[in-house]
């Protein structure tokens, strides 16, 4: 059963017809946690806004829970939950007032769907009389998620919920999303952080309005075509320069404390490479096979 079906969706802006979303197609199964992964300006927000009926597409079509995003926008509006990117709640209302307000606007009560938000809400309940403006980033996020969930949506759209949030709060947020899947809510989430991709059931890598690849994170990583080496040296910048100059190099870039590199010859002799690097004045050289990540795949797709 498919909760979201997108076919050749296109969106342009302004007189110059700047293309924001370019012929995008994908579908999301019911109960799936689906990630739209890409940098700012890739078109993630435009896709979300079209699916939540806030924008009209310039081409293509899409259905959410079987409803057409143009014709049946009312039906979609009463069934989905949405958390916009810059969403900041009502700063001058307390946690409880915010939640109560959104529950009422969506024609429900907190009690009716309390089971859905219970896990999250108990964490912020001790501060329920505090105004949203005085909450920490992580707490605001939890409250926003509660507000988006309170009417028991069939599908939840979360647009960059973790942008600008520190790594600890990001981790907590993803744990909450994983738990929500048990409630059989379909979740679409967008993020510019590649490391969050592995937490989704399936992901679409997106850049400049185009989808580069759609699959499970594992499959995307498994189908990485080249042999990826992780190389370390005491002088990172020099290491990158030397690798760039290597005659057999395909691509090389910094990756945490290592540099990741691919070579034309899949069977590059790692020992010879070490010698080459030392000859070029590097110390503390270490070469090993790298564990491919989504970020490597993304870089490969962009290259």
């Amino acid at each position: 059963m498919e909760a979201v079906v997108v076919k050749n969706l296109t969106k342009t802006y302004g007189k110059e017809k700047t293309v924001a979303v370019d012929n995008v197609s994908f579908s999301v199964n019911q109960g799936e946690l689906f990630g739209l992964i890409g940098p700012d300006g890739a078109g993630k927000t435009s896709i979300f806004r079209m699916l939540t009926t806030l924008l009209l597409p310039d081409g293509g079509s899409a259905h959410v829970d079987g409803h057409d995003i143009v014709q049946d926008f009312r039906a979609i509006r009463s069934s989905v939950g949405y958390m916009p990117g810059k969403f900041s709640l009502y700063q001058d209302l307390t946690i409880e007032e915010n939640l109560h307000f959104f529950a009422t606007v969506f024609g429900t009560t907190i009690d009716e769907n309390y089971h859905l938000i219970k896990d999250i809400y108990v964490q912020i309940e001790p501060f329920k009389n505090r105004r949203a403006g005085k909450l920490s980033g992580g707490m605001k996020q939890k409250l926003a998620l509660c507000c988006a969930l309170i009417h028991k949506p069939t599908t939840l759209f979360l647009d960059e919920p973790t942008t600008g949030v520190d790594p600890v709060s990001r981790k907590e947020f993803w744990e909450m999303l994983r738990r929500l899947r048990e409630q059989h809510i379909t979740i679409l989430v967008s993020t510019p952080y590649m490391d969050e991709a592995s937490l989704c059931d399936r992901i679409a890598l997106i850049q400049s309005g185009k989808i580069l690849s759609i699959d499970t994170p594992q499959n995307i990583v498994n189908t990485y075509p080249d042999r990826l080496l992780a190389i370390k040296a005491n002088e990172m910048y020099k290491l990158l320069k030397v690798l760039e100059g290597h005659p057999g190099i395909l691509n090389s870039y910094a990756f945490g404390e290592y540099a990741h590199a691919t070579f034309r010859d899949a069977h590059t002799d790692t020992h010879a490479l070490q010698v080459y690097l030392r000859e070029h004045g590097l110390t503390g050289v270490e070469v090993k096979d790298a564990e491919v990540t989504i970020e490597d795949s993304f870089i490969k797709l962009l290259h």
Binding site: R49, T53, Y82, S88, Y90, L93, T104, V105, F106, G107
Partner: protein
């Protein structure tokens, strides 16, 4: 309905928790009434008047007592030459000089007419005008008094009449003006800003993606400001009746009905601005420049429209507050009823319907 009420309650939370909003809402009407109403009349009250009485006869003494007993003037007497009068003005304390010629009584008795010279400090034109007018009317008053039993009347000065404002209360024209201003600020500016704020914070997106009808969102946002505006009308009227001693001559019910009509005009304008703008600053700027300024200029409450060039007079007709100002003035001061005001009311009603239509037309159920 429950959703609507939740919305209205939320809106009141916003208003009541923001000190700046509260200040604009309730501080401003009070301050404006006091500034415009009180301070302006105070300016003429207890003005220092220097009297140079060359006559020192019955008539001049009587008239002087009359002037002195008015609460507008404090009289000081001095025998000065013309050049010394100039010097007295330069010291700045004196607002006007009244000069009685040596044969004031003589002239009055034998020629039936006499002259009094009033010299005012015209650096402040408004005050000078007001003082001249007040003095003139006191003189006319005196003239009427001594003329009561005479066949051939004495004439002292040209006739000056102050229509509809016999007690010479300056605040009269200001109360309707302040009312128009305050309602504009609350209904246009605050409504526009509060809707645009939801756009900025992203909450508007959520509200659009909800089963709640988008048009109802707008109405629910406007409703609290209608209520608050009516509170303001009440506050202004109470202030003017009990603090400024200005009774409402006409029907209070009619006054509230017309105010409600004008508030709806303003709300429609506010909603229109909020639809067309995306930032609070721009909404505020448009409200101030586009609404407040024309009201000050063209409603007739600071500058008389009759004195304006014809093109400006024509422009003034499209400013809703002009019509509201006329209506309120007529009800409050002249005590006129709807029979005399149906034309203005109809114009205002037409404007309201037009603006409501335009803002509903331009309202979008999507983001773009």
């Amino acid at each position: 309905m429950k959703q609507f009420l939740a919305f209205v309650r939320k809106e009141f939370y916003h208003v009541l928790r923001d000190r700046r909003t509260l200040l604009i809402l309730f501080g401003m009407p009070i301050a404006q009434i006091l500034i415009f109403g009180f301070a302006l009349t105070n300016e003429v009250k207890d003005s220092e008047i220097l009297v140079v009485d060359y006559a020192r006869d019955n008539a001049s003494q009587e008239l002087l007592t009359k002037i002195g007993s008015s609460r507008y003037f404090n009289i000081r007497q001095a025998a000065l030459s013309h050049s010394e009068i100039l010097g007295a003005f330069k010291k700045g304390k004196i607002k006007a000089v009244v000069v009685f010629p040596a044969d004031f009584n003589e002239d009055l008795l034998h020629q039936n007419k006499a002259q009094i010279q009033i010299i005012t400090d015209a650096t402040d034109v408004n005050t000078a005008n007001m003082i001249t007018n007040y003095l003139s009317s006191i003189i006319v008053d005196y003239q009427n008094q001594i003329n009561q039993n005479l066949e051939i009347p004495y004439r002292i000065t040209p006739e000056v009449r102050m229509l509809y404002n016999p007690q010479l209360k300056g605040a009269h024209g200001f109360v309707p003006g302040v009312m128009a201003l305050v309602l504009l600020l609350v209904s246009v500016m605050m409504t526009a800003i509060s809707i645009v704020r939801e756009k900025e914070s992203g909450t508007m997106e959520i509200l659009l993606v909800s089963p709640f009808k988008p048009v109802l969102v707008i109405f629910a946002k406007a409703f609290p400001y209608l209520a608050l505006s009516l509170v303001n009308v009440t506050a202004i009227l109470l202030l003017s009746v009990f603090v400024l001693d200005l009774p409402v001559k006409g029907s209070v019910v009619l006054l509230f009905a017309e105010s409600t009509l004008f508030i709806i005009t303003c709300l429609a304008l506010g909603i229109f601005i909020s639809i067309k703008t995306d930032s609070q600053q721009i909404a505020m700027l448009i409200s101030l420049m586009g609404m407040l300024l024309p009201t000050m200029m063209f409603s007739g409450f600071l500058f008389p429209i009759e004195n304006m060039p014809i093109p400006l007079q024509i422009i003034s007709n499209i400013v809703p507050s002009k019509w509201f100002y006329i209506i309120v003035k007529s009800i409050m001061i002249k005590g006129l009823g709807i029979t005399a005001l149906w034309k203005e009311t109809l114009i205002l009603l037409g404007m309201t319907l037009f603006l409501l239509l335009v803002s509903l037309k331009s309202f979008k159920i999507r983001l773009q």
